[in-house]
């Protein structure tokens, strides 16, 4: 455990030093405040709106942004060490491959958690203080849930990036694979699903469709945040259709957790079996 924490601490320290933490926090904060201010522009109003509106807008944007940031943060985590010549060196120390990878996951997770909590959280506090409509406890809980699920979504993509990083031999290929993963999960998957739904004339039906959404962590995140809580559901529209009764917020968090565990487990298995 000690070694895992040492590696995690170094990764976080790296994130502070190369301004990743600062950059992500500022982007998240600006995004959150910007959406809070301009979120209702379509309805002819500009100004700080309610936390519920902000949350819906934020969740819609976060599904694009968080996976991209997480993949960029971690795609070179192992292949970069290999190119730098430090992978052999690290593994010549009393440090196992599992400890190294787990430490890196924790470190990257910490970077995302801090950036998400501070970036989105500060905007949430601001909106709560100055919004026209006050925020009740339920809404604040939704916001906390949003931050937690956003961190888990980020971690899921960090784990996918780790899987890429232990599989390819060159950093440039890892970058390419990370972009492909982003396209697949963020854009292509939903289009395919929609295409399938239309092509089968809706034969896939209400029963299978929600479960197919679980195959994509960004959709799980969407379901969790747009349909999980009553005050948000009112604004969310379509996504709430599939949520009724089937997926509770806790279960969706669990699925997101699985989206962290499975790719990371595969990355560990691949890394441990690989010839250096």
């Amino acid at each position: 455990m000690r070694n895992i924490l040492i590696v995690a601490g170094k990764e976080f320290h790296d994130g502070l030093r190369n301004r990743w933490v600062l950059a992500i926090t500022v982007v998240f904060a600006l995004l959150a405040v910007g959406l809070a201010y301009f979120g209702s522009a379509a309805s002819g109003f500009v100004g700080v709106t309610s936390l519920a509106t902000t949350l819906v807008s934020l969740a819609s944007l976060a599904v694009f942004l968080i996976p991209l940031i997480a993949l960029l943060l971690a795609y070179d985590t192992v292949v970069g060490e290999r190119e730098r010549g430090t992978l052999d060196l690290l593994l010549s120390y009393p440090l196992s491959r599992s400890q190294l990878l787990t430490g890196k996951l924790l470190g990257h997770g910490l970077i995302l958690a801090v950036s998400t909590a501070v970036g989105f959280g500060s905007a949430g506090v601001l909106v709560t203080l100055v919004a026209r409509e006050g925020a009740d406890m339920q809404l604040l809980l939704s916001f906390a849930y949003f931050i937690l699920s956003a961190t888990l979504l980020g971690l899921a993509f960090v784990a996918i990036a780790h899987l890429i990083s232990v599989t390819v031999d060159e950093k440039s290929r890892a970058a390419g694979a990370a972009l492909v993963a982003w396209f697949l999960f963020v854009l292509v998957f939903d289009l395919l699903l929609l295409g399938g739904l239309v092509a089968t004339g809706g034969a896939v039906g209400k029963t299978v469709f929600p479960y197919l959404l679980l195959l994509n962590p960004t959709d799980v995140f969407r379901l969790a945040n747009l349909g999980g809580f009553e005050p948000v559901r009112t604004y969310a529209g379509l996504a709430s259709i599939v949520v009724e009764g089937t997926f509770t917020p806790a279960r969706l968090l669990l699925v997101l957790g699985l989206w962290v565990a499975v790719p990371f487990g595969l990355a560990l298995w691949r890394f441990r079996g690989r010839e250096l």
Binding site: I6, K10, H13, N18, R84, L91, S92, S96, L276
Partner: protein, 312 residues
């Protein structure tokens, strides 16, 4: 006494490339063993096997009495220092931070890094980011991390590659210090010039095979390369050169006042006697065969133009 490193009949393939084909070798305690060979000869693979970073396809590796891939490998790794070839480290971190990170991983106090920064002349640059370091400084930082915890065994992969003469001299003096301290060192190099005074044993490797090993004197004797005698003095009289050549020496006049003789070991003393009998000889130096000569003798007859395998 069991040697700190014992390798028996090691075979290792990476796909279709045979990195090692039946290498047996040992390093004795407190000696510096030089692994010599062209790029891609199998030197790095050998080091990786000693470190337990990879397993042999067949054969046996024993390091400080243990199997480096075995259950107690972590304890073993605390006693080993390793300098990989051209290590870049973490550009954003300072030299001190890098060294402290590795010290923590080795389970030793952060205080251990300070004397090493001093000893390797990095103290003035210790708080600067590593990305601003020269090649020589990075190599010294690499050596500093390899020396953390005073390891009993050090593996240095091409420690002088890409270094300027000053930095190379620093590496060699550090090597001599380690030798005095009694550490066992295995270093690999494809640069032969200047290394012979700093190693006790040489192992010449080519295309994954051990071509020769032993101390330099032994290797020279076995190769029958004899010695080189340099004699300074009055060499105006050509007849003197003819006398030496008649006795079996290969004579080369380097200048009006210096002659170089290549002499088989068996007639070394006889040639020296003749030489010293000449008037006007002011200086005589006898040199064993150089490492270049030994490598030319034992080394692979054909060398690949480029390294065939990135991992070896």
């Amino acid at each position: 006494m069991t040697p700190p490193v014992r390798l028996e009949n090691l075979h290792k393939r990476y796909g279709r490339i045979q990195a090692l084909g039946g290498v047996s070798l040992s390093a004795r305690e407190g000696e510096v063993l030089g692994l010599l060979g062209h790029n891609g000869a199998g030197k790095t693979t050998l080091m990786k096997l000693v470190l337990g970073l990879t397993r042999p396809d067949s054969g046996r590796v024993e390091v400080l009495g243990r199997d480096p891939c075995g259950g107690d490998a972590r304890g073993l790794r605390r006693r080993i220092g390793y300098l990989p070839e051209s290590v870049g480290f973490y550009g954003e971190l300072t030299g001190r931070e890098v060294l402290r990170y590795f010290a923590r991983l080795k389970g030793i106090g952060r205080g251990a890094s300070e004397p090493l920064l001093e000893r390797l002349g990095l103290a003035p640059a210790a708080d600067r980011p590593v990305k601003g370091y020269s090649n020589g400084m990075r190599q010294r930082l690499g050596l500093a991390q390899a020396l953390l915890g005073e390891p009993a065994l050090l593996l240095l992969d091409e420690p002088t590659a890409g270094l300027d003469p000053d930095a190379t001299r620093d590496v060699y003096s550090m090597l001599d210090e380690l030798r005095r301290r009694g550490a066992t060192v295995i270093l690999s190099s494809h640069v032969l010039a200047g290394i012979e005074r700093h190693i006790d044993q040489a192992a010449i490797i080519g295309s994954g095979r051990l071509l020769a090993s032993g101390n330099l004197e032994e290797l020279g004797r076995r190769a029958g390369l004899g010695v080189t005698i340099r004699a300074g003095g009055d060499w105006a009289d050509e007849r003197r050169l003819a006398v030496l050549a008649e006795r079996g020496a290969l004579v080369r006049r380097r200048s009006a006042t210096e002659v170089e003789l290549r002499v088989p070991g068996a007639i070394k003393l006889e040639i020296l006697r003749v030489l010293l009998a000449f008037d006007g000889i002011r200086d005589v130096a006898v040199e064993p065969p150089s490492l270049e000569m030994l490598y030319d003798h034992y080394g692979p007859s054909t060398r690949p133009a480029e390294a065939p395998c990135a991992t070896s």
